[in-house]
């Protein structure tokens, strides 16, 4: 019969997203930097190539931010009207943007010079984007119900799609086929155009099924087979391969969803809405795995391709950039600096000893070669004695007071502390553990009690312990201001809790009456 370590009780929790690995990951995007613009931020776009600068469009300007410093590096202010949809080309050298006058301009990102002017829309252009596969093409969608594909060198529209009957407010060129264009319009339809035929090949939503709310945003998976469109607060998933079937409709936002974005691997979908929330969906289940709150309604949202920055533009003109410190293992993912390349030895000979990161130790092969033996060899497992936790060790030596001290430290979770207190009660040792403490030793006991006396998980036990402590230490009250203040805090907290419980009882009574009335009416 061996010593049995203290059994730490686990308490059931409501399935909160607080502590899932997913939410831990998204919580790493910390330290939001707020940049105040003059007008609502209408668009944020990250450059697909390193160093992933991002273009922020607000008022009549397109600003290029450096992600590392989060400062403006370039400001392009060549528009007369409100600029929209600043978009950086895949090579990171050109920027295209439209404005409310219908003008679309292509800039050089470094010199900020206007390279091309695409001017045939007569109404505001809300979308101006480079095609991902054909870098010389630009898609523009306008409030004049048309969408056009432009050839940048010749400044001419190659195709014009006119099937929409209302503002076209969102659009995207497919990332698998440069001829396919997905657009969403205020006529509540999402359409798939083919530049080869010049016609609308697929209509999703509209009167046929999507309701009649205007389509705010569309987004196509990198595979090009599934599209996501937001109509009002509802998010719909359309299967393009199946001929434009709606496979799922999600309504997790309270207000209109205005921004959609994929993370780097398109395994998570981020949606931002006017309800000031950004929600993260797992695209395999379309369940919300994390929610982020923002101070104002969100108009646009982007996540950098290396998943280190989340930029969100809000209606009050604030740009919020959240940033995550990538792990060293992630940064080592750069193919040029991969371990294999380093291991070959060529790298060092090219760069000499000047390369700074070569001494990181990541060069060494991680997997040690294991000695291989006979297949049928019987291996004697080495039994390692289980190490006891320090409080268990003290408990084993019947040092109850020290064991209690060991679990009252800050970094010990309260479940452990109260499980140990329970064990002390079983051993009839709680009084022994609590007696003979001076103010320094009593302080952690009282702090834990103050913290958890109202916690439903430990309420009974904390109350019992508190009663014992009060019984034992009432005679010495008034000798230490620290202890006195802690006792007062304990009392205050208990009083507040009692008041709260009373409120709850009142509410319960009221609810009971309402339910009873409803039941009698229904009956």
């Amino acid at each position: 019969m061996d010593f049995q370590p203290t059994l730490v009780k686990t308490h059931p929790r409501p399935a909160s997203t607080k502590h899932s690995p997913e939410s831990r990951y998204w919580r790493q995007f910390k330290h939001p930097v707020f940049v105040k613009e003059y007008a609502p931020v209408t668009s944020v776009h990250f450059s697909p190539c390193k160093p992933h600068r991002f273009a922020v469009t607000a008022a009549t300007r397109v600003q290029i931010y450096a992600p590392r410093t989060q400062k403006v590096t370039k400001t392009i202010s060549r528009f007369k009207d409100v600029a929209r949809s600043g978009n950086i080309r895949a090579d990171g050298k050109l920027v295209v943007a439209g404005d409310d006058s219908g003008l679309v301009q292509v800039f050089d990102i470094n010199s900020r010079a206007i390279l091309r002017t695409l001017d045939s829309h007569k109404l505001p252009v809300h979308v101006a984007k480079f095609s991902a596969l054909t870098p010389t093409h630009v898609l523009s969608c306008s409030d004049d119900t048309t969408a056009k594909i432009w050839d940048v060198p010749s400044q001419t529209a190659i195709s014009t799609f006119t099937s929409h009957t209302d503002y076209v407010r969102s659009g995207q060129v497919s990332t698998t086929n440069p001829n396919l264009v997905l657009t969403g319009s205020y006529d509540s339809t999402v359409r798939l155009f083919d530049a080869r035929s010049g016609n609308c090949e697929m209509v999703m939503g509209g009167a046929s099924g999507g309701g009649d709310a205007p389509v705010e945003q569309v987004l196509m998976f990198p595979s090009g087979t599934v599209a996501i469109a937001s109509t009002g607060p509802i998010l719909r998933v359309w299967d393009i391969v199946a001929g434009g079937r709606c496979t799922r409709a999600l309504s997790n936002h309270q207000k209109t969803v205005t921004a959609l974005a994929f993370d780097g691997t398109a395994s998570r979908l981020l949606t931002g809405g006017l309800d000031q929330m950004v929600k993260v969906y797992d695209v395999s289940t379309y369940k919300v795995v994390h929610t982020m709150r923002y101070p104002a309604p969100i108009l646009c949202l982007a996540i950098s391709p290396d998943e280190t920055h989340i930029a969100a533009g809000m209606s009050d003109g604030t740009l919020s950039v959240r940033r995550r410190q990538p792990k060293p293992s992630e940064t080592a993912g750069d193919p040029a600096f991969s371990a294999a390349a380093l291991r070959s030895g060529a790298y060092e000979s090219f760069l000499g000893a000047a390369f700074p990161t070569i001494g990181q130790g990541s060069v060494r092969q991680q997997t040690k070669s294991k000695p291989t033996g006979e297949v049928n060899e019987f291996r004697v497992e080495s039994r390692r004695a289980k190490r006891l936790r320090d409080y268990d060790r003290l408990l084993k030596g019947f040092k109850y007071s020290a064991a209690l001290d060991a679990v009252l430290r800050k970094q010990v979770p309260p479940t452990t502390a109260f499980s140990l207190i329970q064990e002390l009660i079983h051993r009839d040792g709680l009084r022994i553990a609590l007696t003979g403490r001076d103010d320094v030793l009593l302080e952690p006991v009282l702090r834990v009690l103050v913290k958890y006396v109202t916690d439903p998980r430990f309420g009974e036990l904390a109350c019992d312990v508190a009663r014992l402590v009060i019984d034992m230490y009432t005679p010495v009250l008034g000798q230490s201001p620290l202890i006195d203040s802690l006792f007062l805090r304990l009392r205050k907290k208990v009083i507040a809790e009692i008041r709260f419980q009373r409120e709850l009882q009142k509410t319960k009574g009221a609810l009971d009456m309402i339910l009873a009335t409803a039941a009698s009416l229904a009956g």
């Binding site: 019969m1 064990e423 079983h426 040792g429």
Partner: protein
């Protein structure tokens, strides 16, 4: 002790033994003196003859005790070779094999008919110092018995008519033992003990009767309530302890009586140092005292004066020391007590080592030296477990546990005021019983068919620390253990009572039966299923199709709850609360399910409410105002048409279809339990009758208010359950108030424990030890014993000829045939079956005999066999060794083996077929008493005698 007390109160129509009141008195007064560890052994619970002849209306019903679980507080005694040990349990002596822990034999005194053995307990035993194969036992009924334990025969009984407490013997006192007996005091409460020297020679007048009188009884000295009596190893001193005093008498001058030495605390145990002249005692406060008072000038002072003596004190124990023992080399002292820690004191330095957490409070310690030379400590624990601890490693090497029901042995302050429930259920998948264990926080699983303890299930794992102060620790108690009908789930309720400062705890735990591993695995734990109130009842639904498996609980908070199995897709299944409902805030006392699971009957004090378990809607409310508070309600019959509701004394049977009372019965005593037949329309009502220890079990049918059968038994039950393991129309299993497990019902027959009968030890004690020759030459040289070979021979000769295919060779012309040398072996193989080599040891001499003869087939195969050693060769070797090595000691080679019974010839009752060899130096002493029947046993081979001599000597 309460058990024996209450047993005497009931009226068994048997004549009272004359020794009985005396014994009872002595026992109770000992209890009054606070010697708690004696209680369990002194309380005899064995009942040999089930009272089939009970005067009752139903002779076909019967009851039998399944097992008795007793703890001995007398240290086990080892045989000289350490291969077996004797444990005194109740009225019998059990002989355990030290290596396997099995009971190989049980010595019980044959009782004359009509003898109530309830008060007769074997209290002490000692090996005969002159014959290592004889055991002398003393019983509380006042009889000394001499046993030959090898043959399990009772050689002699000497009745001294006074309760014997301790016995000791020494070589210096041939044919006599020293016993401490008690006789009732003149002034009621007090009790005088006395130490007697009892001669084992029978008085002439009584020599022919079974219970003989001793020829000579010499009183040595008085001693009040002795708790220990022993000789010093050299036989110079006789020491006893009792109360606060140690009594010392010089064996050279026994007539001068005892010299008393005073200890400040009450002494509890005694041990003598093996080589030096001092002894150790343990006392109630946990001190171990070494007494250096054994010198002549100290003792030869006037008798009767209480003196102080030079002592050394060793203190570690916080509670009473229950046993002390010296190691044979005298370097270490072992002590143990309630702390469950074996303390090993190095006497020279006073340093100590510990073997902590042996599992249960230590009751006895004895030291065993196996012939292999390895020393082991045997701890007898309070939970009826024997644990061996290797002296070298100080680790528990093995431990043997037996069924143990009584928790009071460990927690000697039982909470009698609290009417705690006792878990009991029958697991039909494995045909095992789930019973409470010695520690209230665990259950034990017992197979009644093989009468073995399968395993122990720790429901609420805890560190079994001992109490700090006098107040006992309050453990978590398992209150209920309910099995699902399929046997896959077990629900247990374990609770710990709170006190004025701290709230209690209660847990509902649901265990899953792992069919592969054959054990219960904790699946779900629910903390405080009914808040701070206790859970009054638990029941599984039948779980038929259409009605999934539910669990219903009723609690003191007025709620009844149902729980369901949550089937998770990728995780383990677990139980979750499904619904909670109450009825006018009355506290439910019992829940039960209809056989198809469509109704849930919740018993409230004044009514029984039938719920639909799927919707929680009230279907019916049954009330019967004249009945008093309802306690339980059970569905009766396969269809569950009837509902039997039990009140304090009333029994009401409702017909649920007619919705009316079918009949109403008033029981003669308070109803304790109600068990319904799972298939038929009958049920049994257990009620207590009259005085405290009598119960009436009545079998009712739904058709009539008159009981079909009734049986009155002198037992009170803690819990009763349906017992499906015997083929019987109606049978129950129950735990009685004195912690016995009994079976009641039609044709109950109980398999006795293995080894519960007395039998000769050597015939079946399996591990034959290696002989000296085997040690020298290796075991393989001697092969197997040739005993089995004879039976093989006829089988092989009768074998039909199978050489037909080989005979085709002869069809050819002679010159075409292969040479005969090549042909012979393969041809003969067809005729003869090769035999196993080792079956023919006598082939040694006949090895080079001509092999042509077909009629001697056995000779063929042994040609290639290894060399075998037969008995003749062995004999030659024995002679050789004797003549060369043992010349100095060699007396005549034992021509006549006699049993070592001194009065064997005179005692007509003694069987004479003993083959017990006696050590050779003893032969010379007793040569004059030859038993005429020795000639009957010449067939014992010489080798065996040698072996045994070595092993036992």
């Amino acid at each position: 002790m309460a058990a024996s007390g209450v047993r005497q109160a009931h009226e068994i129509p048997l004549p009272q033994s004359p020794a009985q009141p005396k014994a009872h008195k002595s026992a109770s007064s000992r209890k009054a003196k606070g010697k708690a560890k004696e209680q369990s052994a002194a309380a005899p619970k064995r009942r040999v003859p089930p009272p089939a002849a009970q005067p009752s209306s139903s002779p076909s019903w019967d009851w039998a005790s399944l097992t008795d679980s007793l703890v001995s507080s007398v240290p086990p005694i080892f045989t000289k070779d350490g291969s077996h040990f004797f444990s005194l349990v109740g009225s019998s002596v059990r002989i355990y094999a030290a290596t396997t822990g099995k009971v190989v034999s049980t010595l019980s005194i044959p009782r004359p008919a009509g003898y109530d053995d309830a008060s007769d307990t074997v209290t002490c035993a000692v090996l005969n110092p002159h014959n290592a194969f004889q055991l002398i036992t003393g019983s509380s009924a006042g009889s000394l018995a001499v046993w030959d334990f090898l043959e399990a025969t009772l050689l002699q009984i000497i009745d001294i008519s006074q309760p014997i407490h301790h016995i000791c013997a020494h070589e210096n006192f041939k044919d006599s033992v020293f016993v401490s007996v008690s006789r009732p005091g003149k002034k009621g409460g007090g009790e005088h003990g006395i130490v007697l020297q009892v001669s084992l020679k029978p008085a002439e007048v009584a020599s022919q009767s079974t219970a003989q009188k001793s020829s000579q009884i010499t009183p040595v000295g008085k001693m009040r309530q002795p708790v220990g009596l022993t000789f010093s190893p050299n036989g110079a001193w006789l020491v006893g302890i009792s109360g606060h005093k140690a009594y010392v008498a010089s064996s050279a001058a026994l007539s001068s009586g005892f010299t008393k030495y005073v200890s400040p605390e009450r002494l509890t145990c005694l041990a003598f140092h093996p080589t030096e002249e001092y002894f150790a005692t343990g006392d109630e406060k946990g001190c171990i005292r070494l007494w250096y008072c054994l010198n002549d000038e100290q003792v030869h002072k006037p008798v009767g004066v209480e003196k102080k003596s030079q002592t050394a004190i060793m203190h570690w124990h916080a509670h009473a020391v229950s046993s002390v023992a010296f190691t044979p080399n005298g370097a270490y002292l072992l002590s143990g007590g309630e702390e469950s820690v074996l303390v090993i004191w190095q006497l020279h330095t006073g340093k100590r080592e510990f073997v902590p957490r042996v599992g249960s409070p230590i009751k006895t310690i004895s030291v065993c030296t196996m012939t292999g030379g390895e020393e082991e400590y045997l701890l007898g624990l309070a939970d009826a477990t024997y644990t061996f601890i290797g002296a070298a490693s100080l680790k528990i090497s093995r431990s043997y546990s037996r069924l143990k029901l009584d928790p009071t042995a460990i927690h000697n302050a039982p909470s009698t005021s609290r009417n705690s429930q006792t878990p009991l259920s029958v697991h039909t998948l494995t045909s095992t019983l789930i019973l409470p264990s010695s520690h209230p926080s665990s259950l034990q699983i017992y197979s009644p068919i093989s009468s073995t303890l399968i395993s122990e299930l720790e429901v609420s794992p805890s560190n079994r620390v001992s109490r700090r102060d006098e107040k006992p620790l309050e453990p978590c108690r398992v209150e209920q253990a309910i099995l699902s009908p399929s046997g896959d789930w077990l629900a247990t309720i374990d609770a710990r009572e709170g006190d004025e400062d701290l709230h209690g705890e209660s847990y509902l735990k649901i265990w899953w039966w792992d069919r592969k591993a054959g054990f219960w695995i904790l699946n779900t734990r629910v903390d405080r299923p009914h808040g701070l109130q206790k859970v009054t009842d638990v029941a599984f639904s039948p779980g038929s199709e259409g009605h999934p498996l539910f669990l219903a609980t009723a609690g003191g908070d007025g709620n009844a709850k149902t729980w369901r199995l949550h089937v998770a897709k990728d995780a383990e299944d677990f139980w979750v609360a499904r619904s909670s409902f109450n009825f006018q805030n009355e506290i439910p006392s019992h829940v039960s399910w209809s056989p198809d699971g469509s109704l849930l009957a919740v018993t409230l004090p004044h009514r029984t409410v039938l719920f639909d378990p799927s919707t929680n809607l009230v279907r019916h409310t049954l009330a019967s105002p004249e009945c008093g508070d309802f306690k339980a309600s059970h569905f009766i019959g396969k269809a569950g048409r009837y509902l039997a509701v039990a009140g304090p004394v009333d029994l009401v049977l409702w017909d649920l279809v007619d919705q009316r009372v079918r009949w109403h019965h008033k029981s003669p005593g308070p109803i304790r339990a109600l068990v319904s037949h799972p298939r038929e329309d009958t049920f049994a009502v257990v009620s207590s009758v009259g005085e405290r220890v009598k119960s009436r079990i009545a079998l009712f049918s739904v058709n009539s208010v008159k009981a079909i059968k009734a049986l009155t038994v002198p037992l009170n039950f803690r819990n009763v359950a349906w017992y499906p393991l015997v083929p019987s129309t109606f049978s129950l299993v129950a735990i009685t108030h004195d912690w016995r497990l009994v079976v009641l019902g039609d044709n109950v027959s109980v398999a006795k424990d293995d080894g519960a009968v007395s039998r000769a030890m050597m015939t079946d004690s399996a591990p034959q030890r290696r002989t000296l020759f085997q040690d020298i030459f290796g075991k393989s040289a001697f092969g197997e014993q040739p005993s089995g070979s004879r039976s093989d021979l006829p089988a092989s000769t009768a074998r039909p000829w199978t050489g037909h295919d080989a005979s085709q060779v002869f069809d050819k012309a002679a010159y075409q045939m292969p040479p005969l040398e090549d042909l012979f072996d393969s041809l003969m193989a067809g005729f003869l079956k090769p035999r196993e080599i080792e079956v023919l040891p006598e082939s040694l001499e006949t090895e080079d005999v001509e092999m042509a003869d077909d009629s001697e087939p056995a000779l063929l195969a042994s040609a290639g066999g290894s060399r075998q050693v037969d008995e003749a060769e062995m004999g030659a070797m024995v002679d050789l060794f004797k003549s060369h090595t043992l010349k100095a000691k060699a007396t005549q080679p034992v021509p006549s083996r006699k049993n070592g019974v001194t009065n064997g010839a005179a005692n007509g009752k003694t069987p004479h077929s003993h083959s017990t060899p006696v050590r050779q130096n003893q032969i010379a002493v007793k040569k004059d008493v030859l038993v005429p029947a020795v000639a009957d046993t010449p067939s014992i081979p010489m080798v065996n005698g040698k072996k045994r001599k070595k092993s036992m000597g």
